[in-house]
Amino acid sequence: MEQRKLFKGKRTRTPGGETLVRLSGVRKRYDGGTEALRGVDLEVKAGEFFSLLGPSGCGKTTLLRILAGFEEPDAGKVVLAGRNMRGVPPYRRPVNLVFQNYALFPHMNVYDNVAFGLRMKRLPEGEVRERVGWALELVDIAGLERRRPHELSGGQKQRVALARALVNEPKVLLLDEPLGALDYKLRKQLQVELMNLQEELGLTFVYVTHDQEEALVMSDRIAVMREGRIEQLGYPEDLYERPASRFVAQFLGTSNLIPGAALEGGRVETPLGTLAVNETLTAGTRVTLSVRPEKVRLRRRDAESANRVRVRVDDIIYTGAENQYLLDAAGFELVAYTLNADVQEPGHEEFDYDEEIVAYLPPENLVVIHE
């Protein structure tokens, strides 16, 4: 059961529902003059887990605050569930936000915190009790109703914040780095729980994070943001396997970025020699080749042929599951990861410091970035 949950099959669902969030040409400049958003377009479909990923200052939180209604964009259009949101205050929007620091009301107990939204809607107290009970059950904190926020652990606060938002059954749930303040183990656990919740209830999430691993694990689609723009938008695998820019290649995981000039016939002249790629290029254009460290193949001896580079082992970092090799290819630094597999396995090789070996960069794993 847990296994099925842990490895939720991404892209098994095709989010083909109605479009719940539609942003077009959204711009925002703060009083200080910094341009937080420089024209953002995106669409989120019903039932989708959509992540906004980027470093601090990229505009992802501003975008979320615009969706929540705390900021008004200078230009552009925000449509939520088919309604234009211009001038609509936060308290009349079909969304709820889970705040980064939880923002629980310190003078109210857990029950009153969760009941707040329903009471603002003036629901009868009986229905409030029923729905609060449902929400607390959902996030697994039934029994803590009488506690005050300061009597809760970080994980419990997070669950209360989630329940407080979910109980209102928002069309779109906005989450601002909701797991940022938790320790690694708890974060991992809550990631799985959040994903399950989102899938089982068919919720639509817009999830802000700076943690690329979190975004890859949880999202149906990701928008990578940089300096107020969407740098690349797509499925997690697409972003990882086919980064469209050096920034995306480096922000999502680690990449070897090799500068070069295109030659005739799908070949690129690089500091590592001439490398073949699976793409036809216009001769003379400047490109960057990106290859993931785990896709570099290392061999002690290998036939001299295309895309094979002689390297020297500079350093080895042991991380448990994998060995990370820092390699010197005649002055150019390459990184390669090999799985720390069974040493008895045929073909398994491990290398020593200063050893001269061969790194194979398969053409199908060289992503050409035009920049």
Partner: protein, 289 residues
């Protein structure tokens, strides 16, 4: 402190504070309490035997018949304290927010504190200069072609003077609370469907309560007991409980009755606080607001 030697370990930390309280609070209070059961001799000194006459006299149960004089004065003083506190809240609450959001908060805070640099009596006399028959206020009214007003001496002058004097004691602790407000809580309330007024009431107001309560206590208690303001701005015609007590220790030289009046005042204020604290404790902060 069930462990042996607990007292000895506690002494260096709690000891000095406890000694201070005993010496300067408990002992004088007990002395006044004792004095309130004594009598005045022919020369105005305290003398025995112990009696309840002072309290009887205060509550109008004197030998001379039923007289509500002192209870009336006490009621008048409580009313002054209450009205002063309410007016101070109405004026001070928005002002604390005004300071907190202003880019010149330090200047504004300085202006709030500035009157303390001048002696209190001089400031009270300044109000006389403003309110008297040929004073500043009437000169302004005259220029505007309005009829002069007779505000000195009067209860109005006493009320204005009391609000003026104690307003900063409400603003300062309140400002300390307002400055620390976590505004994301207001955003959270808006996000959960609370409009402007409910949002303020549920997310902002509770955060100002510690400062507001401190301010209320700092205004109400001294306002109820004031005697200088009514002496000066009421020119002796406005008698408050503070004036009664002061007279007994001064002109009338009846320390025993003065002690009894002081004790009744203290009892009424403490009883009020106790009722409030019990109410707040039972129902919890969130249901009180």
């Amino acid at each position: 402190m069930s462990r042996p030697g607990g007292w000895k370990r506690l002494l260096p930390t709690v000891g000095p504070g406890a000694a201070w309280l005993v010496l300067f609070v408990l002992v004088p209070t007990l002395l006044i309490f004792y004095a309130s059961f004594l009598q005045r001799d022919a020369h105005g000194w305290l003398t025995g035997p112990l009696t309840l006459d002072n309290y009887r006299r205060f509550f109008g149960l004197d030998a001379g018949g039923f007289d509500l004089l002192y209870l009336n004065i006490l009621g008048r003083s409580l009313l002054l304290g209450l009205v002063t506190t309410l007016v101070a809240i109405v004026l001070g609450y928005p002002f604390a927010f005004f300071i907190a959001q202003s880019p010149r908060k330090n200047l504004l805070l300085l202006l709030v504190v500035l009157p303390f640099w001048t002696n209190f009596l001089i400031r009270a006399y300044a109000w006389i200069v403003i309110f008297q028959r040929k004073g500043v206020l009437n000169a302004v009214l005259g220029h505007l072609g309005l009829d002069p007003v007779q505000l000195y001496p009067s209860w109005t002058a006493v009320y204005v003077g009391t609000v003026y004097t104690y307003l900063p004691f409400l603003i300062l602790p309140l400002y300390a609370s307002v400055e620390k407000i976590d505004w994301t809580l207001l955003e959270a309330a808006h996000d959960l469907g609370a409009g402007r007024v409910p949002g303020f009431w549920h997310a902002v107001f509770p955060q100002t309560l510690p400062g507001l309560i401190a301010g209320i206590l700092l205004v109400f208690i001294p306002a109820v007991g004031t005697f200088v303001i009514s002496d000066l701005l009421g020119a002796g015609k406005t008698v408050l409980i503070g004036n009664v007590i002061q007279q007994q220790f001064g002109a009338s030289r009846d320390w025993a009755f003065g002690s009894a009046a002081a004790f009744v005042l203290m009892g009424v204020v403490l009883a009020g606080l106790w009722l409030y604290a019990r109410k707040a404790g039972e129902r919890g902060m969130e249901e009180l607001v």
